[in-house]
Symmetry: D2
Subunit: 284 residues, 4 copies
């Protein structure tokens, strides 16, 4: 479906008639729904929905939709986002020294699996500059020490603004962001190289090896102020055995990290992830 669409992600207190109200809003304005999915979380008392419809033939002009829907949403105490499929999000990929997730994201963007621009790479190391050049992406090397961190984060924020970045992807960035930073730029996806909540923090593969687990995993999540505690978007696992040394775990883990991160970024870009509390509903 390459015709432009609009997507609403809505969460509101559950009550009768919500599906009808939202569907009527689209239908009465001449819209053709191409995807609608909803979920009621009874324990939270919340109704969550994703509705996507074609803009062609829709009677409301784009700049009116928000206000028009607002008058329905407000009495319902709904929280909602509106996205247009032909507004391409801009991603900054943040890396340290490992290149596998970066390469993978670039390849997927180039092959149109990810509908986004990647105009910016930020790293605390100079190692991956060559890849940036190879693909014509700006690369900013911003080393971080405990002392310089506040200043450097200010630089990073400025770059995000300058490059009009919509989403930061931490593609094995291996640095903790400050609460301050996250408060100012909250749209961040991280890949953690373990099956969270097992092995949060540093060196998860070494610790997985020491524990003697038979399966390892990777977790993509939104970044919040609590390290490795943000809402999980996607996880996957792979089997290991006593024959696998730490190096083997790292190697097998790289394949997981690439795929799990890419799936999460894709779901986010397609506006399929609705965060509520510390959880996500993924309308895949």
């Amino acid at each position: 479906m390459n015709r432009p669409t609009a997507t609403l992600l809505i969460s509101c207190p559950d009550q009768k008639g919500l599906v009808a109200k939202f569907a009527n809003f689209i239908y009465s304005n001449g819209g053709n729904i191409i995807h609608a999915d909803q979920h009621t979380d009874f324990s939270a008392g919340l109704f969550l929905t994703r509705i996507e419809w074609e803009l062609e033939g829709f009677n409301l002009p784009r700049d009116i939709i928000s206000a028009a829907f607002g008058s329905i949403a407000q009495p319902l105490n709904a929280q909602w986002q509106l996205h247009f499929s032909d507004q391409t999000p801009r991603i900054a990929v943040w890396v340290s020294r490992q290149d596998h997730c970066l390469f993978d994201l670039i390849w997927r963007q180039r092959s149109q699996e990810l509908r986004a621009e990647i105009p910016l790479i930020i790293s605390n190391h100079p190692h991956l500059q060559g890849i940036a050049e190879q693909f014509g992406i700006a690369y900013h090397h911003i080393p971080i020490t405990p002392d310089t961190k506040p200043d450097q984060e200010a630089k990073q924020l400025k770059l995000l603004q300058q490059y009009q970045i919509d989403l930061v992807v931490l593609a094995k960035y291996m640095q903790v962001l400050s609460s301050d930073f996250i408060a100012q730029f909250p749209r961040i996806i991280n890949i953690h190289h373990s099956f969270l909540p097992a092995f949060p923090g540093a060196n998860p593969y070494h610790r997985a090896y020491d524990r003697g687990v038979k399966i390892i995993g990777a977790t993509a999540h939104y970044v919040t102020q609590d390290l490795d505690e943000g809402p999980i978007i996607e996880q996957d696992v792979v089997r290991v055995s006593h024959r696998d040394q730490v190096d083997d775990l790292i190697r097998k883990g790289k394949d997981l990290e690439r795929v799990v991160l890419a799936r999460a970024v894709r779901l986010h870009l397609q506006n399929r992830v609705l965060v509520y509390g510390n959880r996500t509903a993924v309308f895949a």
Copy 2:
């Protein structure tokens, strides 16, 4: 959610306004939707949906719902089924000599994972009569030879009628049903011990071993007149290695067969499976 609900499974040619029309039908009659899911199959031009709502507070009496909804559905050329959650379906389990799927279904029914009655077991062998007795289920031993098949199938149909059976589950029955039988009683789920369409027909584990596959599977599907060609409800797989002999494949496969069959039966009983063409939409 233990309060009684009604569920509609609907498929109809795609057009604008369907979500709104169906949701309005529930809402305007005072119904509270607790699950709604839809899918548009653009290649088939079909809109498919499952809507479940609470009967409490719904203004239409049960015996009117069907007629009332029909007046909406007919102009849309919709096909639809209506189910009530407090009408417990009755299952006949058909077996040969293997007991693992039978045991599993009975255990799940007893532990209320499957909301159904199991009043009848039919087998072409006498071997599992003891299990039937243990759990107080009627057991009918109906041996089949090419010559006696038509007569025996007539007996089987009579039993299904007598026990008011809604669903036949072939739990490793290992016999092919005639087209005639299927035409007269089409609500049949089979578990096939391979990852279809690989290894249809007899002895799939032996053939999987001979082919040297590294993964084996099991497939639960509705039975149609073409052997092992019916709409697939659920599949799953397990890894094998060169160390696994045919006996190991059979043993590992049994765990798959139990789980895959149980999932499929549960999905069916919850009216989550919508068949269209030779495919299923599973609103899980």
Copy 3:
């Protein structure tokens, strides 16, 4: 392979010639090796091996093998166990109120997937007595309170002795055993209903739900004095989504628990699990 075999599980400091020495011991005494597998853990400097050979045609009488092999093993500082396949191990299954793992173990034992006797069930609740009776297994109801625990554990130990139990399987026993007990009877396998080390301790499914994970797991491990910290034998996982409530996690988890526990018990019974440090080598 139903002819009787002997199996050696050996671990010793790595050095040259170990494969040759152990293989020569079997060969020079006329034995036919049917399975041999070894692993060198270079980080631990340990050589680990499992060797199984047919007793038919082996020149050493059974009661001599141990002494004969000891004279090879001692100079190598090897630790080793010797098992005969025709000595059937005796299992006590310990349960609380949930029956799914118990049922599963009994079914597998009856169908000869598990070569063992199950003469004894111990429970802190009376609920599953009926199952014991159904299958002709002794059932001892031993309720536990903090005050009575020492006395009750003494009773339990006495029962294990009386029934000549080789292995205790905690099939959702939901009680912590004292260090004292474990010291006196260390051959215990537990199934924990999470993907350890995530969610050790109580209520893992509730905590998995609260954390919003996308995959849940189960872990079978040997019991040590540190709760849920013993050597892991087997793990497996299943995918969940935002649609799955705690009850769904529990239901999906039961299927995992059954399969993971059964695999671990089978591997143990076939003498395929070699514990070293807090790890296992599984010669599957």
Copy 4:
């Protein structure tokens, strides 16, 4: 383990003493075995083994090992291969228009996951020349028509000779090789984009979609004269649903293809794959 090693892959009719004989050959010449694995296929009456030992301290010069081992192997009717870890194999990657497997193999080779050289890319299309240039790899565009095939295959064979290629990897080459070609250069690994033996031949994703399967797969296998019938090295699968259109299957499948092909090539390069009959033992 970066010190140079030798590896023997041996298959021979089963008999007593084989483990001892092979281990003694290494030990008596001062070798330190770092990996040994064996398997007896009782149905085929075959003993299969992989033995890897360090060359440092081994008393036989490299150019003698083969002859020395031959005198042991011949009376046993053994078939065997000898490999040295410091002789880097040379790979030719063959592609059509899709770049995902090519990119992946190059990245893994660059990051030393695959110990091999990739000096040559052959394609029946010009599309991926840019990638070859980017990474400094020779690219030969050899279009194929039914008429030109014999001549073009002659060219291809010449290139393999010229570049001293040890292994051809068909990374979505989408062309069938002639029996003649395979007879002259039999060391070929192919990735097939289905879970063989399901959907051999063309358009497996379309056919998987049409069949309504709930899981799709990919298969890496050695190429033999029977299309998609060669010995399977590795397979893996991913779950799909009714929401996945053919394009989604293709996209999900690409991730499978990359990983499955890479695993198979890595296992082959580490001499862990022993072909016998139409099967493989994978000593992973």
